[in-house]
C-alpha cells in the first residue's frame, strides 16, 4: 500500500457510526484507509484461497471412482475458480487490480488458507475436504454475509449458495465410504485423522482481546470471533462424524453441557503460523503448479492482448 494521508477524524467517526448501525458500504464510497487495507487483505486472501483450493481436489478429477463423481468434482472445482473470479473483482473495487493480485500469488508473496497447504492423499481426503473444509469455510463466509462491505456480502451470498452443493456432494462421498468396506472406512478414518488439526487451525488463533480484533468487529469486517466460528463448526460437524460410527481424532474433545461449548485439545499453533507463511507440506509444490499453469496459459493472455490491439476500433480502446 502506498502511504496514505491520515483520515479526517470526523469522517472516520461518522463512518464507524454508520457501519455499527448496520449500514453497508458500497464500492466507491469514502472509506477509512485502515478499513480499506483490512477489507482488501481479507478479500484478496479469500480470492487466493479459492484459486489455490481448487488444486488439491483437481488432482482427483482423473482418478475419481466413477463418471458421476468425476462430473460432480469437476463442477465443484469450476465453482471454486469462479468464486476466485468474483472475489478478485470485489477486491479490485478496493484498489488493486486483478493482475497485481495474481502476480503476487504466483510470485509466492501472497497468503492463502492453511488447509490448502496439505496433501490430498486418498479419495477419502476429497470427502473430508468437501465436507469439513468447505463446511468450515461456510461458517466463516456465512457469518460474513452480513459484513459491512456490500459488494463482498453480495458475492458471499452466491458463494454460500454454491458451497452448499459442495457440502452435500461431500456428504454423499462421505456416506458411501462410511457405509463401505472395512478398508474404505479405515481410509476415511485415516483421512479424518490427518485433516483434524488443519481444520481446527482453519478458524485462526484463539481469541485474544486485541484492539485490532475489536476494530475489525466494530467495523464488521469480522462478524464473529475465531472461537465462536470454531464452536459453531464443531456443533454442526462432530455429530456427522459420530453418526457414522467414526472416531473424532481428538481424545480430549468433550461437550460441556452447562457452557454449551466443546473443549478440545489445544493444537500446535506454531504449525498454523509456519504453514500460513508457506511452510506447509505441499506449499512449494502447489505454488510451483500454479506458476506452471500461469506460464503455460500465458499464450491466452497474449492472444487476448493481441486481439485487443488488432481490433482497437471495435474492441476496448
Amino acid at each position: 500500500m502506498p502511504p496514505v494521508p491520515p483520515d479526517d477524524p470526523e469522517m472516520a467517526a461518522r463512518f464507524t457510526l454508520r457501519v455499527q448501525g448496520g449500514e453497508q458500504i458500497e464500492a466507491g464510497e469514502w472509506l477509512p484507509a485502515e478499513y480499506r487495507f483490512e477489507a482488501l487483505r481479507l478479500i484478496n486472501m479469500h480470492a487466493n484461497s479459492e484459486i489455490m483450493g481448487a488444486l488439491p481436489e483437481r488432482e482427483w478429477i482423473p482418478r475419481a471412482p466413477s463418471l458421476a463423481r468425476k462430473m460432480a468434482l469437476t463442477a465443484k472445482v469450476q465453482d471454486e475458480v469462479g468464486h476466485g473470479m468474483l472475489l478478485y473483482r470485489v477486491a479490485e473495487t478496493l484498489g488493486r487490480s486483478r493482475d497485481e493480485m495474481i502476480a503476487d500469488l504466483v510470485a509466492g508473496k501472497a497468503r492463502f488458507h492453511n488447509v490448502f497447504h496439505y496433501p490430498a492423499e486418498t479419495w477419502a481426503d476429497v470427502a473430508i475436504i468437501q465436507v469439513f473444509v468447505d463446511g468450515a469455510a461456510m461458517q466463516t463466509q456465512g457469518a460474513l454475509r452480513s459484513c459491512s462491505y456490500a459488494p463482498y456480502s453480495r458475492v458471499l451470498k452466491r458463494i454460500c449458495y454454491e458451497e452448499d452443493f459442495h457440502i452435500q456432494l461431500g456428504l454423499d462421498v462421505w456416506r458411501s465410504l462410511a457405509e463401505g468396506t472395512p478398508r474404505q472406512r479405515a481410509m476415511l478414518q485415516d483421512a479424518l485423522r490427518r485433516w483434524w488439526t488443519p481444520i481446527i487451525h482453519f478458524f485462526g488463533m484463539p481469541d485474544r482481546v486485541s484492539p485490532h480484533t475489536e476494530k475489525m468487529l466494530a467495523w464488521r469486517i469480522k462478524v464473529k470471533s475465531n472461537e465462536e466460528l470454531r464452536q459453531q463448526f464443531l456443533r454442526r460437524f462432530v455429530p456427522v462424524i459420530l453418526e457414522y460410527g467414526l472416531e473424532v481424532p481428538d481424545p480430549g474433545l468433550r461437550w460441556l453441557d452447562d457452557e454449551q461449548r466443546y473443549v478440545y485439545t489445544e493444537p500446535d499453533w506454531e504449525e498454523l503460523k509456519r504453514v500460513g507463511r508457506g511452510g506447509g507440506p505441499k506449499s512449494a509444490e502447489r505454488l510451483a503448479l500454479r506458476q506452471r499453469f500461469h506460464e503455460q496459459h500465458a499464450w491466452v493472455r497474449e492472444a487476448v492482448a493481441r486481439w485487443l490491439h488488432d481490433h482497437a476500433q471495435d474492441a476496448v480502446a
Binding site: 464500492a27 464510497e29 469514502w30 469450476q78 486483478r98 476496448v316
Partner: protein, 149 residues
Amino acid sequence: MTPGGGAHDGSPRGTGDVTRPQTPAGAGSTGTPARHDAGGLWEHPLGAAKDVWAVFVQGRRRDTHVYAGDVHAPDAEMALVLAKENYTRRDPCVSLWVVRADQIHATAQDAAEMFVPATDKSYRFGGSYRQQRRVLQSSYQAAYREEDQ
C-alpha cells in the same frame, strides 16, 4: 480505490464519494472521476476499468434482465462467453446482456433521499381505495340473515 464494482444483485453499485475526490489507485481499474465540479453532484459514472463488463441475466422470457456481476473481457463477444461460464452454471437463463461497466452512470449514495416521497403518496396505491369494498361487504352482511336462508 475504484468506484464501481463487484456487486451481485440488481442494486446500483459503486457510488463514488462525491464530496471528496478519490485518488485513482489499482492499476487498470480506475475510471472517470465523479463529476464533483460540474454541478452534477447527484450522479457520476461508476468508473470501472476499461475491460470490465457488467452482466445482466434473464432467467425466463417474462423476467427482466437482472444485474448478476462483472467479467473482465477485451470485447463483447468474449464478455458474453465468460458471462455464460460464470453466471449461468445453475440457475435458468434464456438471455444475457453485457455492457461496459464504465458506461454505467449511477446516482450518488448520499442522494438516496431524493427517492423518498416528499408528501404522502398513498393515493398512488390500489390498496388505498378499499373503502368501497368495505361498504359493499358490510351492506352484504347486514342484508344476510341466517333465518332467511
